[in-house]
């Protein structure tokens, strides 16, 4: 073949190859696009967007629990940092299993008398890829379950801030499990479950003012009163051992809270956008309020105050995030900053040791937020909600007040009973005197949080010897 032909041949061959699919497509004839196919395609896109968003939110909310570990861990004394963080980590481990085995079903299963869910979803039976249209029609049921699980995890972790530095680990574990079954799962059902009686009553709780913050806060107060004050409180100074950890934790909480509140819209939509903006706005307003008040009251603005203010604002906006306009979020934030600041200062005057202000911030903030939801809610933001007092409807505020009182009374009584049971099983909720002085880390976990010195601590580095409780003879044999 000639040179000219060969070079031209390449281009002809290439063109022919490219044309084949075009010709083939044209040969199929032009089928008309059906409107149903467009609808399915559009709803698939919506499902994908909602599902992606909700998976991310689920992860964001989980991140709040390690964030809480840092927030609380930085505020306790060095000797208790690990014991405090262990409580958050174990909440993640224990509740994750409890939820998938039974907890989810008790909270969100078909309602039995409006009081508790059935065991239909136990072991995630029937919880799969298909949506559960009762709750979220555009995301897999599994995703909704997982999202709710992260709330079930962080709520009990919040409680133990009030009894920091003095609770037995065994007592913590037993109480955690009992509380999940007897308080969180029922309350979540009442407020969020289809058929739940507080939901039916009309209570508005977008992301957990009642279910998370009031329940944890009230339980925290009861626990603090029952366990008693830390040794040395209030005369001995017990300043936070690492406020950088606390600030880092507060930042992670603020970040994760976007998943907590905006994710409670259960879709990637305008409602989530409102909740997102409200969350940030309330946090910021509350931070400013707390810092300014503290500055005037004590003369210096503190970073612990800023972090606490932010959390108070986030707590208060939680029930309201998907029901109010952003200007109301500013009001709610300022109120939370001021009222929670007062509550925290009141603790010293009243003399009880809510060590990390779980009640002062979460309990009080949650109650305030739930009530203000009844004031500022508007159907302009969420047609599935209601109008509040500000919009001419005083009934909603009354419903909110009832739901708050019911939650408070239920949680107070239930946690009192559960703590009594736990104390009976473990022989006391509290560490012994010497253990409390040595600190949780050494006494309960055999660990030191910080081994930063250069002086050699001792010797070892061999495999740990097991320490069975009975006769010394057995121990000698093990070491031999």
């Amino acid at each position: 073949m000639s040179e000219k032909f060969r070079s031209h041949f390449r281009w002809v061959a290439l063109a022919a190859i490219l044309l084949v699919p075009v010709v083939a497509a044209m040969a199929q004839g032009s089928a008309p696009i059906k409107i149903e196919d467009v609808a399915v395609a559009a709803s698939n896109a919506q499902n994908a967007g909602d599902t992606a968003w909700m998976l991310v939110c689920t992860a964001l909310v989980l991140l709040m629990t390690p964030g809480l570990a840092l927030f609380y861990g930085g505020m306790v004394r060095r000797k208790n940092v690990l014991g405090t963080m262990m409580q958050s980590v174990m909440a993640m481990a224990v509740i994750s299993i409890q939820w998938v085995l039974i907890g989810y079903s008790l909270a969100f299963g078909p309602s039995i008398g409006g009081v508790i869910g059935s065991l239909k979803f136990a072991g995630l039976s029937g919880v799969g890829i298909a949506p559960n249209p009762d709750y979220a029609a555009t995301i897999p049921h599994l995703v909704f379950m997982a999202f709710q699980m992260m709330f079930a995890i962080i709520t009990p972790a919040l409680i133990f801030g009030s009894v920091a530095e003095r609770m037995k680990f065994k007592a913590f574990m037993i109480f955690l499990i009992l509380w999940a079954f007897m308080v969180y799962d029922p309350l979540a059902h009442w407020v969020w479950g289809v058929g739940g009686w507080l939901r039916t009553m009309g209570a508005l709780d977008f992301a957990g003012g009642l279910v998370v913050h009031i329940s944890a806060g009230v339980t925290a107060l009861v626990a603090a009163l029952m366990i008693g004050k830390r040794r040395g409180y209030p005369d001995e100074p017990m300043p936070p051992h690492s406020l950088p950890l606390t600030v880092l934790g507060a930042g992670l909480l603020w970040f994760g809270w976007f998943g907590f509140n905006a994710g409670s819209a259960l879709a990637a939509n305008g409602l989530a956008a409102y909740a997102f903006v409200n969350t940030n706005t309330a946090a910021a307003a509350a931070t400013l309020a707390w810092v300014l008040i503290e500055w005037m009251h004590h003369g210096k603005p503190t970073v612990l105050g800023a972090a606490s203010g932010a959390v108070a604002g986030l707590v208060a906006i939680t029930p309201a995030a998907g029901f109010v306009l952003p200007w109301a979020a500013i009001v709610i934030g300022i109120a939370a900053g001021g009222v929670c600041y007062g509550a925290v200062n009141l603790r010293y005057k009243l003399g009880y040791d809510d060590s990390l202000d779980a009640f002062g911030v979460h309990g009080v903030g949650g109650m305030l937020g739930a009530l203000l939801t009844g004031v500022f809610a508007t159907k302009l933001v969420n047609a599935a909600g209601a109008d509040g007092l500000f919009y001419g409807n005083p009934i909603q505020l009354w419903i909110q007040l009832k739901s708050v009182l019911i939650s408070v009374v239920f949680c107070a009584i239930a946690s009192f009973v559960l703590l009594k049971i736990t104390a009976a099983v473990t022989g006391g909720l509290r560490l012994g005197k010497l253990d409390e002085l040595e600190g949780l880390d050494v006494a309960e976990h055999g660990e030191n949080g910080y081994n930063m010195g250069d002086i050699p601590l001792g010797h070892g580095g061999t495999a740990a010897v097991s320490h069975p409780s009975p006769a010394p003879v057995a121990a000698v044999k093990a070491e031999a």
Binding site: P234, P237, K300, L304, G305, S308, V344, N345
Partner: protein, 112 residues
């Protein structure tokens, strides 16, 4: 030989060290310590609770010098560490029975 221990304000340690170097004193040891004498503690506030720390941060420097140098070392410390306010610190002087350099095994005044 004497050991001179000076408990001084933590912010003064660089000034004192520079002056001691200037007058020809080669070595010293510094510790971070906490203590108080007549000085009242500092007040800090955490979430509405006020704490007064009794023990304040100080620096203790120790140096071993010959008997002849002792007086001018004390003088140097006095002039640089003094602010005139309560909390300036104290100097203690101890007799030393032996001083040994680990590297060479020298002892006595040559080991200082």
């Amino acid at each position: 030989m004497v050991k001179i221990e000076a408990i001084i304000r933590d912010v003064m340690v660089d000034t004192v060290k520079d002056e001691l170097n200037r007058i020809g004193i080669a070595g010293m040891t510094a510790y971070e310590v906490r203590g108080f004498g007549h000085q009242k503690g500092k007040t800090t506030t955490y979430r509405g609770a006020e704490y007064t720390a009794d023990f304040l941060n100080k620096i203790k420097i120790e140096l071993v010098v010959s008997d002849e140098d002792a007086e001018r070392v004390v003088e140097a410390i006095m002039t640089t560490a003094r602010t005139g306010n309560i909390g300036d610190g104290k100097i203690f002087v101890y007799p030393i029975s032996q001083c040994i350099r680990i590297r060479t095994g020298e002892s006595g005044k040559t080991a200082i």
